[in-house]
Each structure stands twice: as C-alpha cells, then as structure tokens.
C-alpha cells in the first residue's frame, strides 16, 4: 500500500525527485530524476566545533560522482535514461569522490565502448583494413598491423568469415569504431583469430556481465562438467568448443538457458548431466 501511495504522490507532485541512496537496488524507469546525497565540508584542523569560513556561505560542497551507463547529468540531478536496477559502488581510493552510480539494464543490442573485449566476424578485406562485424550499428575497422608479430611483409592469416577476439581502441558515437588484437605492450594476450571448430552463439548483454563477474558459479560448474575452451565477447557473443559436437551443443544450450533459470534449477540440470 505504501508503494502505491508513494507512486501516486510522485506523479501528482509532477515528478518529485527521489534521493539516489533511497532507490539503490530498486527498478528505476526512464525519466526519473535522482537527487545526489550532499555532503558538507570536512571539519578543519581547528578542532571540534570550528569550521573554515567559506566565501559562498549558501552553497554546500558536493562530492564528485561518476554517472555510469543508463544515467545522465541533468542540472545537479541524475536523469535515468534506461530501465533497470540502480547500483552504486564506493570509490576504492578512499577520498576519491562519491563513487559511481549506474543502471543494470538488460538489452540485446551492443553499443561499442572503448576498452571492451569483443568477438567479431570478418566481413570484408579492403586494402590494409579488415571490416569486422561486432553487432553494433557500424562494422569496426581492424588494421592488419594490429596483430602480434605482424609487419608489412609478414601479414596475418585472416580470411573473410574468421572470428576475431579483440578490443576497441576508438569507440564513440561520432566515429567509426576501431579495434586491435594487441594490448598496449604489443602482445596478443589471448586476442587474435579464434581457432577452428567450436560454436558461436548470441546471448543478452546482461548474461555476459553476470558470467564475467569475479566469482561466477556457473562458469565453475560448467568447467567441472567437460573440458572446454570458451571465449566471452562483451557484445553478447560466446564461442565455445568441447571435445565432441554433442558436448559443445549441450554447453551452448546450458549457457543460453542460464538466464532464465534460478540457481536451484541450474544445479539440478548440472547434476543430471554429470550422471549421464
């Protein structure tokens, strides 16, 4: 009942903004405005009760807060642009500001972000550049020199239709995305052309983030089932390879179904598979 009353009050008051701290972990809708917690100046060295005089007595200092995906700055408030759960992370440095706020949303479409590791499919080879489809609005460009040990005479062996695991070095809304298969030291570090066989399939972006979280039970359980090779792309693509085709297909089905299963159902399925 209290929830219904609060919703009515919010809408009749013409969109009264709520405090960000009070909605952590709850579902927020696009168009909502969130207030940031304001903090006062720290106590000066003069001791208890004394505070340094500020020139503009009316304004209180605000900590620097980072707006993550799904949020935009709107005046001194946060405007929610995507539907999902509001999350917050405290700053690690201890004094580096108010932390990060973001919205955990579920979507299927990928938008390139700098630094993301993705799986792409080579669609065209034009001169010195490969065009790689990453699932975004534009194909990304990959230069032939961005592979480990590649020189003008020693070209990498990449054909149209190959799978590439790389990361974005340029990815913003105004420019064509560019990716490379080496890190800043010039080493491949696992990136490059993905080998033969195996199966590539697509899942939602939220599932990928869940699977790549530091201690994910699903991956540990899957590893215990069969020996496998697996590559996760942040663009929703997973490549998996096991010893036989049947095992590969079973793994692909499990990972696709993981999104809609609770952990109990998952454990049941894993135990059933481990027996057979």
């Amino acid at each position: 009942m209290a929830e219904a009353v609060s919703v009515a009050a919010e809408s009749f008051a013409g969109g009264r903004a709520r405090g960000a701290r009070s909605v952590l972990g709850q579902v927020v809708l696009p168009g909502e405005e969130l207030l940031l917690p304001e903090q006062e100046d720290a106590e000066g060295p003069g001791g208890a009760g004394e505070r340094p005089l500020s020139l503009n007595a009316g304004a209180r200092s605000r900590v620097r807060v980072i707006c993550g995906p799904g949020l935009r700055r709107c005046g001194d408030r946060l405007l929610v642009t995507k539907c999902g759960r509001l999350r917050h992370k405290e700053p690690g440095g201890g004094g580096g500001g108010g932390g990060v706020y973001w919205v955990d949303s579920q979507q299927k479409r990928y938008v390139p972000v700098k630094g993301d590791h993705v799986i792409g499919i080579v669609t065209a080879k034009s001169g010195d550049i490969f065009k790689v489809d990453v699932g975004g609005s534009e194909p990304a460009s990959l230069s032939y020199l961005s592979f480990e040990g590649a020189t003008k005479r020693n070209r990498p062996n990449v054909q149209v239709g190959d799978l590439i695991y790389g990361q974005f070095v340029v990815a913003n809304k105004d420019m064509e995305p560019e990716m490379v298969c080496i890190d800043s030291c010039g080493r491949a570090n696992g990136m490059g052309v993905i080998g033969q066989d195996g199966l590539l399939f697509k899942v939602t972006l939220g599932l990928i983030r869940k699977l790549l979280a530091p201690d994910c039970e699903i991956i540990q359980e899957v590893g215990k089932l069969y020996p496998l090779e697996i590559v996760f792309g942040m663009n929703g693509r997973i490549w998996v390879k096991a010893k036989t085709i049947q095992q590969t297909l079973i793994l692909a089905n499990i990972l696709e179904a993981c999104e809609h299963m609770t952990s109990d159902q998952r454990k049941q399925i894993f135990s059933r598979l481990a027996e057979s």
């Binding site: 696009p30 168009g31 935009r72």
Partner: protein, 205 residues
C-alpha cells in the same frame, strides 16, 4: 518527469466508436502487456487493452542507409501494419503521430547516424487503437534499451454527440477540458502499470 509534456493525452472526437460508454474519471479497460516475446528484434512488447491488442518490435540502434542518415541524431522510423489489407493513408498519419511522440522521448543525440525502427502490428482492433499503439511502442523501446528522456502513453477520449451542446463553442471547450482532465488522471494508471510490469521482469534476476 514520468509524463511526456507534449503528448500526455491523445484526444480524438469520436462518436460511436464501439467502446462501452463510460463517465469521466472512471477506470480504463483491463490492460496487460508482455515483453521480450520475439527473438529477432532487439526489443518487443505486446500491449492489450480490453480486446485491442498491438504487437511492437524495435530494432536499434542499427545500420542506416547513407541517404537516410542524420549527422547528429538517430533516424527514427515507425511502421504500422493493419490487421488486414495493405497500409493506407490512415496508417501513414498514425505512423507520423507515433514517430513525433517517439522522437520527443528518445535521446537520439546519443546515437547519431544510426536508425531506430519501431514496427507495430495490429493483432485485434476494438477501439482506442492509437493509444494502444503508443503504449506498445513505449514498452518496446524500454525493452530494447534505447535511451529515453521520459516515458509516454496514450489515452483516448470520446466526446458525446449532443446536438445542443455542439452548437455552443464554450461548453464544447468545457467538455474538452473535462476530457483532458479525465485522460490525465487515467494515464497515471498506465504509468503505474508500466512500473509494476517492469519490476516484475527484473525481480527474477
């Protein structure tokens, strides 16, 4: 702000639409919605209002043809398919109305030179079709994760065709205001329903 300022109530003077006569300020027909029911579009939704049902699919932000691209914002396209027959002029005018509403709500500047396509299919029509299309489009855009600055919804109002009142412009104006007020009050129900159904979707994860 949950309400979209430009389009918070869609009013059409309809006489004899076939929907049951209702007084001002009363409840809307029973509505239901289903999200993420289609596998190919990036976002999809099905909205039911009584017997009227519309299925919406959203593709985007996706590739756009060079002739249609806009350099600083996303190209929004709306396609409305009637239940039977080929789309005609009435569908085109509804598409334009829905497109203007979506453009005001969607943050197109975040995805320049891309296209966002909304495809609406009328499954059954029993009155207030435009409002149902708007609601289905909104839920489908939210389901696709397209960044929006506000939600929008549609509510249809009908004016009674009373001979003596139609002749008098001021009382006709008054009736219009009553319709506006009733539609605004009813749109709160729809927004509350959006919130509940989206919360239900996220409560599983």
């Amino acid at each position: 702000m949950e309400e979209e300022r430009h389009a918070d109530a869609k009013i059409r003077a309809e006489t004899g639409t076939g929907s049951s006569p209702r007084g001002p300020g009363c409840s809307l027909r029973h509505f239901a919605c289903e999200q993420n029911l289609l596998s190919r579009p990036d976002g999809s939704a099905s909205f039911l209002q009584g017997d009227t049902s519309v299925l919406a699919g959203v593709y985007g932000p996706a590739e756009v043809k060079v002739s249609k691209e806009i350099f600083n914002k996303a190209t929004l396209e709306v396609i409305l398919r009637p239940k039977i027959g080929l789309p005609g002029v009435a569908e085109k005018s509804r598409e334009r109305l829905i497109r203007n509403t979506c453009e005001a709500a969607v943050l197109g500047t975040l995805h320049p030179r891309t296209s966002i396509t909304v495809v609406l299919q009328v499954v059954s029509d029993a009155g207030s079709l435009l409002a149902c299309c708007l609601n289905a489009a909104c839920i489908a855009l939210v389901d696709a994760g397209v960044p929006m600055r506000a939600l929008f919804c549609g509510v249809t109002c009908a004016l009674d065709s009373d001979g003596s009142l139609v002749l008098d412009p001021t009382s006709k104006q008054e009736k219009l205001q009553q319709c506006l007020a009733a539609a605004q009050a009813a749109s709160q129900h729809i927004f509350r329903f959006y919130r509940e159904s989206l919360q239900r979707r996220y409560s599983k994860s």
